[in-house]
C-alpha cells in the first residue's frame, strides 16, 4: 500500500527576510516586519529581531512560533549564564549556543532561519549565519528568508568585501562605513520588496556599535 502523506503539518512558513552586515566597528541587523501565511498577510508590524545579549541580536525568518520558542530558550539560557559567570555572553559564545540549541532538535527541527549579529570581544562586527539544524559559520554578511536569494547576489556585488566563497576564507568584514551599510540595507529591502511577495510593509534596522545600540525603521511597499 503506497504511503499516505499527512494532511496536517506541524510547520507553517510566515515568510519574511533577514539581513545582517558586519563592519570594522559596527554591525547592522535588519528584518522586514511582514508576517504572512499562504497568500495572506497576518500582520504588517511584527518584529523578527530579538536581543539575546547586550552585543548579540538575532534575526530569524521561517515559522515564527518556532522562532519565538527559540528566542525564549536562548534568553533563559543567557540568564543562567549571567548568574553563573557574572557577565554577558559574548557574540561568538551565543553563536555556539544557538548552534547547539538548534541541533538539539535535529529530528524535529526549529523551522527558523537565523542570522546572528553583534560585536565580538574586540569590538569588531560579527555575523553568523545558520541553517535550520544549527550548521553555522562566521561571515561578513548574510541574508536569510524568502528574499535571501534576491539580496545575497546584490550584497556580494556592493559590499566591496573579499568574496566569502574564497578558500582559504578571508575575513569578509566590509570596509564600508556604518552610514553606507545602513543605506545599502535599505536599498536591499526596497529591491526585495519589489519582487518577493512575502517581503514588505516596513524594515526594522538595528545598528550596534561602540556607543551602544540604535534602532531605525523604514517604510516599504505594502502590496
Amino acid at each position: 500500500m503506497p504511503k499516505e502523506h499527512a494532511n496536517w503539518s506541524p510547520y507553517d512558513n510566515n515568510g519574511g527576510t533577514c539581513v545582517a552586515i558586519a563592519g570594522a566597528d559596527y554591525c547592522v541587523i535588519a528584518a522586514d516586519t511582514r508576517m504572512s501565511t499562504g497568500y495572506s498577510i497576518l500582520t504588517r508590524d511584527y518584529s523578527k529581531i530579538c536581543k539575546l545579549a547586550d552585543k548579540s541580536y538575532m534575526a530569524s525568518s521561517g515559522f515564527q512560533a518556532d522562532v519565538k520558542a527559540l528566542q525564549k530558550v536562548l534568553s533563559s539560557r543567557h540568564l543562567i549564564y549571567q548568574h553563573q559567570h557574572n557577565k554577558q555572553m559574548s557574540c561568538p559564545a551565543m553563536a555556539q549556543l544557538l548552534s547547539n540549541t538548534l541541533y538539539y532538535k535535529r529530528f524535529f527541527p526549529y523551522y527558523a532561519f537565523n542570522v546572528l549579529g553583534g560585536l565580538d570581544s574586540e569590538g569588531k562586527g560579527c555575523v553568523f549565519t545558520y541553517d535550520a539544524v544549527g550548521s553555522y559559520e562566521r561571515v561578513g554578511y548574510s541574508a536569510q528568508g524568502s528574499g535571501a536569494t534576491l539580496i545575497t547576489p546584490f550584497l556580494d556585488n556592493q559590499l566591496k568585501s573579499p568574496s566569502p566563497l574564497l578558500l582559504p576564507a578571508k575575513d569578509a568584514v566590509t570596509p564600508l562605513s556604518e552610514a553606507e551599510a545602513v543605506d545599502l540595507v535599505k536599498t536591499c529591502f526596497s529591491s526585495a520588496t519589489e519582487r518577493d511577495i512575502y517581503t514588505g510593509d516596513s524594515v526594522e534596522i538595528i545598528i550596534l556599535n561602540a556607543n551602544g545600540v540604535r534602532r531605525e525603521t523604514e517604510q516599504l511597499r505594502k502590496d
Binding site: 525564549k72 533563559s76 540568564l79 543562567i80 548568574h83
Partner: protein, 277 residues
C-alpha cells in the same frame, strides 16, 4: 536531660514535641555572620557583614541576585545558601519562561519553605543550615521575608539574623515605624547603622559589609565598595550617631514589640522552641 536521646535524626520527635535536628539547624543560622534587611513601601535594602577568614582569602558571598526583582541575603552554612539561591534563580527563570512575567515574591518564599520542610521529614536528609532574607518587589509592593531551616517563613518590615543580630534588631525595633515612608537613601543609611550595631565597636568600612538595594525603578543590585564607603564616610564625618536619644523621645508607648508588623511572631528566643513562633 533528654535532648541527647532524641536528637540523632530529624525524624525523631522529643517527648516535648520538638525536633532537635531542626533546632540545631536554626543554631547554625545564629552562628553565621549577621545579615539584615529592611523595607519601605517602595524599596528593600539588604546588608550583611562580610568577614574574610584571613587577610589572604576573599570574602564569602552572602548576598545573591535571584532575578531583577528579587535578591537574597543568607546567614549560616553559606554552601547551603548558594544551592538554595541556585534553586530560586531556576524557579524565577522557569516562571518567567512560562508566564512571561516576574515570579511574585510570596510564591517563591512558599516554594522555598516547602523545600525546607521536606528536609525535616526525610530520614536520609538533613535540614538546610541557612536562614534567608528574601527581598523582592512585585505587583503587591515591596517585600522582605525570612525563611528558616524549619520550613517556616515570615514577612517583616525589618529583620536581622546571624551572630550579634540582637543588637541590630534592637536598633531596627526603635526605627522601624518610620521605614515605610523612608527614602531609598535613608533606608540604606539605616541598614549601615544596623550593621554597625552588630560590629560592637569595630570600625565599619566597606570592606566588612555588603549592601544591596531593590526598588521601584531600580533592579536588584549590589552597591559597589566605593559607593558604600562614601556613604559611610558621609555619616561618620558628620558625626551622625545612630539616633538613640531621638527615637527614645519619639516612642510614647515604650516597646513597639517585635520587628514583625504583618504576620508571624518575633525572632526566636533562645530557650523557647523556635517552632512555636
Amino acid at each position: 536531660m533528654f535532648r541527647n536521646q532524641y536528637d540523632t535524626d530529624v525524624t525523631t520527635w522529643s517527648p516535648a514535641g520538638r525536633l532537635f535536628q531542626v533546632e540545631y539547624a536554626m543554631e547554625a543560622v545564629k552562628q553565621g555572620s549577621a545579615a539584615i534587611g529592611l523595607r519601605s513601601k517602595t524599596h528593600v535594602v539588604l546588608a550583611c557583614v562580610n568577614k574574610a577568614n584571613s587577610e589572604l582569602s576573599s570574602h564569602q558571598r552572602k548576598i545573591f541576585k535571584v532575578d531583577d526583582h528579587i535578591g537574597v541575603a543568607i546567614a549560616g552554612l553559606t554552601a547551603d545558601g548558594r544551592v538554595l539561591s541556585r534553586y530560586m534563580r531556576s524557579e524565577c527563570i522557569n516562571y518567567g519562561y512560562t508566564y512571561e512575567s516576574p515570579l511574585p515574591v510570596g510564591r517563591l518564599v512558599v516554594q522555598l519553605a516547602d523545600k525546607a520542610q521536606v528536609c525535616t521529614q526525610r530520614s536520609w536528609k538533613r535540614p538546610y543550615g541557612v536562614g534567608l532574607l528574601v527581598a523582592g518587589l512585585d505587583e503587591s509592593g515591596a517585600h522582605l521575608y525570612y525563611n528558616c531551616p524549619s520550613g517556616n517563613y515570615f514577612e517583616y518590615q525589618a529583620f536581622a539574623i546571624g551572630s550579634r543580630s540582637q543588637a541590630a534588631k534592637t536598633y531596627l525595633e526603635r526605627k522601624f515605624e518610620k521605614f515605610p515612608e523612608s527614602s531609598r537613601d535613608d533606608l540604606v543609611k539605616d541598614a549601615l547603622f544596623a550593621i554597625r550595631e552588630t560590629l560592637q565597636g569595630e570600625k565599619l568600612t566597606s570592606t566588612v559589609c555588603t549592601v544591596a538595594v531593590i526598588g521601584v525603578g531600580e533592579v536588584f543590585n549590589i552597591l559597589d565598595q566605593k559607593t558604600v564607603q562614601s556613604l559611610i564616610n558621609e555619616f561618620e564625618i558628620s558625626g551622625e550617631e545612630a539616633p538613640t536619644n531621638e527615637s527614645a523621645a519619639e516612642q510614647s508607648g515604650g516597646d513597639a514589640g517585635g520587628a514583625a508588623p504583618d504576620q508571624g511572631g518575633a525572632a526566636a528566643e533562645e530557650e523557647a522552641a523556635p517552632m512555636d513562633i
